[in-house]
């Protein structure tokens, strides 16, 4: 059995009186593409943000590769030390930085030689096929191109885990299908552990090794995808 890359144990998160996550436990094996499916407000995004360290759980604990990164009311490992990539729903591209500067900013936090930084940036741009856009600002790109930039930013530092929060929700069906297959290719090529949040069943069918169904802050069921591999417990 493959070791769990992400483990949530009895994680609860409240916002005021609203319970966003209610004693959620989950283990996602390394290299697995897990798709979290559920209606708006069911706690999908909150779960992703807790894994990333952008929210603190009220109770329970979160572990990455077996090491606890946050637990009730505390963050043990800051987000930037968790070796994650995150693609936000609204992409959150930095409006004042060119695409290349986006990647340089990410790589600037790592102890790398200039040569290695250049190589990684070029590789990331090539992987998502936007090499020619390196000098542009986000507002000079189309919606699909912006999605690719967000992906490049997430993978440029070669993370072990990739988290995606409904990244393609604002795109038309054709572009969405295109980027979905691109993402599936990337996930396999880089052997990424991926957690993909969506409310679209088509996304789940196309991408998932396993589908996690959520409702009202709880995990209802975990389905293994018939054509793909691993099964989260």
């Amino acid at each position: 059995m493959t070791a769990a890359a992400i483990t949530l144990t009895d994680v609860t998160k409240r916002f005021g009186s609203h319970v966003a996550l209610d004693s959620v436990s989950l283990a996602v094996p390394a290299g697995t593409a897990a798709v979290v499916l559920g209606p708006s407000g069911c706690g999908k995004t909150t779960m992703l943000r807790i894994i990333a360290g952008l929210e603190v759980p009220d109770s329970g604990q979160v572990a990455l590769d077996g090491a606890t990164v946050s637990a009730a009311g505390r963050v043990d490992v800051l987000p930037h030390r968790r070796k994650l990539g995150f693609v936000f729903q609204d992409l959150a591209l930095w409006p004042h930085l060119t695409i290349r500067q986006h990647l340089d900013f990410v790589l600037g936090s790592m102890a790398l030689s200039r040569l290695e930084r250049d190589r990684r940036a070029q590789d990331a741009l090539a992987l998502v096929r936007i090499e020619v856009l390196a000098g542009r600002l986000p507002h000079q790109l189309s919606g699909g191109e912006q999605q690719r930039v967000a992906l490049a930013r997430a993978i440029v530092r070669e993370p072990r885990v990739l988290l995606l929060d409904e990244p393609f929700s604002s795109l038309d069906a054709e572009l969405r299908a295109d980027l979905r297959s691109e993402l599936a290719r990337l996930q396999r090529a880089l052997s990424l552990t991926m957690v993909y949040v969506t409310h679209d069943r088509e996304d789940a069918t196309a991408l998932a090794d396993c589908v996690i169904e959520m409702r009202a802050g709880r995990i209802l069921a975990v389905h293994r995808h018939p054509t793909r591999g691993h099964d989260p417990a």
């Binding site: 930037h80 995150f86 936000f88 959150a92 990410v106």
Partner: protein, 514 residues
Amino acid sequence: MDIWRGQHSRTAVIGLAFVAFVVCCVLPAAYLLATTLGAARSAYAVVALDSRQQGLLFTTALLGLGTAALATAIGTPLGIVLARVPLRRKGVVRVLAGAPVLLPPYIVALAWVNLGWDRPSEWTYSLPAAIVILSLVLYPLSMLATEVAMRRIDGRLEEAGLIVAPPGRVLRRITLPLVAPSVIAAALVIFVLAVSEFGVPGLLRVRVYTTEVFTAFAAFYDFSRAIALSVPLLVLCVAVAAVAAALLGDRLVTTRRSLALSPVVFHTWRRPALASVVLVVAIAVALPMLILVREALGARSLASATGAVDAIVNSLLLSAVGATVIVAVAVCLGYAQARASHGVRHATQALLVVLFAVPSTIIGVGLIGLWNRPGPFGGLYGTDAMLLLAYLARFVPVATLILAATTQTVSVSQEEASAVSGVGWLRTVRGIVLPQLRVGVAAAWVVAFVLAFGELGASILVAPPGEATLPIRIYTIIANTPSSNVAVLALLQSAVIFGPVAAFGAVASMRESR
């Protein structure tokens, strides 16, 4: 589409407010400029060729630049703290940290002069001292501008950075570049207010344009020299304020917030953040007040206070009436600005910022030139109405900016719903819009009252003989009255100013604890 086209009530109300605005705020500065164009060349020869004036320009510029730099260095980090670090009772913290801007700068200067030394040192009456004092009073402008700008940034932009970089780097590379235009604009406004300031350089004997204008008029009765000295200052202030307004764009009158996330990682900065706020408030507010209390305890009697009762009552009455009229005009103008087209809104906002930047002594000189004349218009000169006109000229622009921002939070569709239901403009404004502006109106009134209560630069020029407000009284007795007696009056003035501020703080605290 203008849903209220053809509504005479709207035309009449806004038209009246506009006329009041032009007469009170625009005409004094316009009069000065017009007079300048037709003035005798000799007056300009004096100003232009006098080498002392070059020194004056240098000192004035240094005062402005030094204050803008230091106030920004203090205010920007505090703005970041208020926007991003989750402090308990943040409303109270904001009121406390913002309080110095409501304190008349000469009160802080008075405390500085009495700061512990038996004999004045070379620093007591100096340009650096004036810079430090003005920075301690004006840093809240930078703080509030930074906070507002940061709240407008989508918190996800920072979160996207925090996934890959430590908080300090995210702040430097992502957050600060995005708020830079607002920080720079605030620094420019601080520059303008510093070079416009009269009380602090006057008290610390620093020769700058405002003190020279005052001396030319009040000591030498040389009106044409006062006007000639006013023009370089007026041009400088107007130009810098125009750049600030252009940089700000619609940020001043828009209170729209994007995702006001406070990324969780900044929570770790809570203690140092709180310590820095406490330190700044202690130096800017508590220390001056303690010095004045210590000084006041040495007063042998409260004769100075009882002798100033007339001035205190006068100040309270005039400030209250002034604030009420200011808010009445500003409600109408703020509504008109908020509902104007994008271009008109930008232009009027720039005009309001520029008018707010006109130095107080220049407004005083302009008002004298405008109203000191024979005929029916001259009837106001020599009465308390001149003080009210000075308050209107100085503070209608800032009250209008506050109320335009508040009005924008009331969506136009609410008025449209009223209009299609057959309700007229006046009833719609009275029944739908105004009730939603209550907090903004109260805030504008308090700001106008506090500013009017501390106004010195214009008041001291236009006050009728024998009539004095509290600031005039304090400023004129400094030279020949024991410092303990002056301190008593300064404390009285501070108490009146901090009363409403404390009330606001209490309300904010109650709202937060709910």
